[in-house]
Amino acid sequence: MPVEPVVQSVPALFEPIAQLSPAAFDLPFREGYVRSTIFVSLYVSVIAVTLSTLVSIPIAILMGFIEFPGKRFVKSVINTGMGFPSVVVGLLVLFAVSNQGPLGSLNLIFTREAMIMSQFVLATPPITAISLAAITGVDDGVRDAARVLGGTRIAVALVVLKEARYGIATAVLAGFGRAISEVGSVLIVGGNITSAAGISKTRTLTTAIQLEARQGQYETAMVLGAVLVALVLTVNAVVIRLGDSGVGR
């Protein structure tokens, strides 16, 4: 897949954090372990959040603009989804992709794709709800103005999206935060697998931390935790920066 080599270079930036940690930690990381783990974390979360955004934004626009029967039900589903226990989502995805489940023939158990599925389910409610709040928060006058200036329904929707862009960026970041911090569900459906040589297949930073903690290796877990925090902060900073530079012509 063309994405992989390009994205591979990003995790390489974070490996120094693991390598700069004091010798006292004596980290047992093998070549490429941290980098491949970061890659899997990013790969799964970025794809899940992208897919989720593609679904959430249209839903938020529909909810914001149109009255339809069952709208309140959809809204309560979204709000429930915000607080839904993520590990339960993992169980549900497990039931779906297990060989015994409806999607069994797709052989998705213990793959990154199953992890993407569960993160997709987790990220969509916050992205939808926060985007919806941003969209409905756009002044009605702006919407009326766009309409009266001759905008088609789509054009007006685009204007509202643009006005709501900061709120939507916040929504996407919230979704990303939830996705990349996810442990329980990706552990259940992904299996926390690395190759014998230590290259991650379905191990993310979070499940790696869980593994180290399970073994009582708390210092190693802390280092991985620092890498994860750095990663999240960087993504947040990049998105905010992009948002700022998009102001005006």
Binding site: G141, A145, A146, L149, G150, T152
Partner: protein, 254 residues
């Protein structure tokens, strides 16, 4: 040119307008005056073709807007511009605001190439934008962001925004209620400029003095219909209807 005939409109059980008729022609200014809540905004929305009357017709150049399909109605609608009491500018630069009406009338593929051309600094709309801003005296603010404008300046840009794509009809709903005298004067002058260009202007206002200043004809709305429609001097000096006289003189309190 734009004619409402026998229109009625209710919200729920409440009849706001009943059997109302009004027309506006090219190159004239009609002021709609009356107390707050009497239905001026509803009237404007009927004229703007964004609200369908329960009874009666609304026709632009003879075409009844509500008997044709949605696409035709949209093209009719696009010949009408509207300015509201609040400027509601987009969170963008002044030029992006003013050119919006022009951009939006292009096909999607044209819009895409417009955007790309805009990125490299070329825009086909510069002249139209400049001209519209000139009418409201804000050409020097072209590249500034909407946030940096004062309330009055924002409303003037809003006017320019409606003017930029050369509508046939311009509807204004209390355009200067929030403005100081200087900006009000600019807007009123712009209204005159629009009329001189052949645009049919309808101004809804509760400021009778403004109506006297800018309008060729005045429609007086009291209760649920038009009490009287006549040239300005007639309405103010020698109204036909007693209620009009009472309203103008301030006896009818609102």
């Amino acid at each position: 040119m734009l004619r409402v005939t026998g229109a009625s409109r209710s919200y729920g059980d409440e009849a706001v307008l009943r059997n109302l008729s009004l027309e506006v022609d090219t190159g004239e200014v009609v002021a709609a005056i009356g107390p707050s809540g009497v239905g001026k905004t509803t009237l404007l929305r009927l004229l703007a073709l964004s609200l369908e009357p329960d009874d009666g017709t609304v026709a632009l150049d003879g075409t009844d807007a509500w008997t044709v399909d949605a696409a035709s109605r949209r093209s009719l609608r696009r010949r009408i511009g509207m300015v509201f009491q609040e400027a509601s500018l987009f969170d963008a630069s002044v030029v992006r605001n003013v050119e919006y009406g022009l951009r939006v009338r292009r096909s999607w593929s044209e819009r895409l190439s417009d955007e790309l051309a805009g990125l490299v600094g070329q825009s086909g709309f510069d002249d139209a934008v400049h001209e519209a801003l000139d009418v409201v005296g804000l050409t020097e603010k072209v590249t500034q962001h909407a946030d940096s404008l004062s309330g009055g300046e924002a409303q003037r840009v809003s006017f320019a925004r409606a003017l930029a794509y050369e509508p046939d009809v311009l509807l204004l709903d209390e355009p200067t209620s929030d403005l100081d005298p200087r900006n009000t004067a600019v807007i009123e002058e712009a209204i005159g400029e629009a009329r001189d260009r052949g645009i049919g202007v309808v101004v809804a206002t509760h400021d009778m003095h403004q109506a006297e200043r800018v309008a060729d004809r005045v429609a007086v709305l009291l209760d649920d219909g038009i009490t009287e429609v006549a040239p300005t001097e007639v309405v103010f000096e020698n109204p036909a209807d007693e209620r009009t006289r009472k309203f103008i003189s301030g006896e009818l309190v609102y």
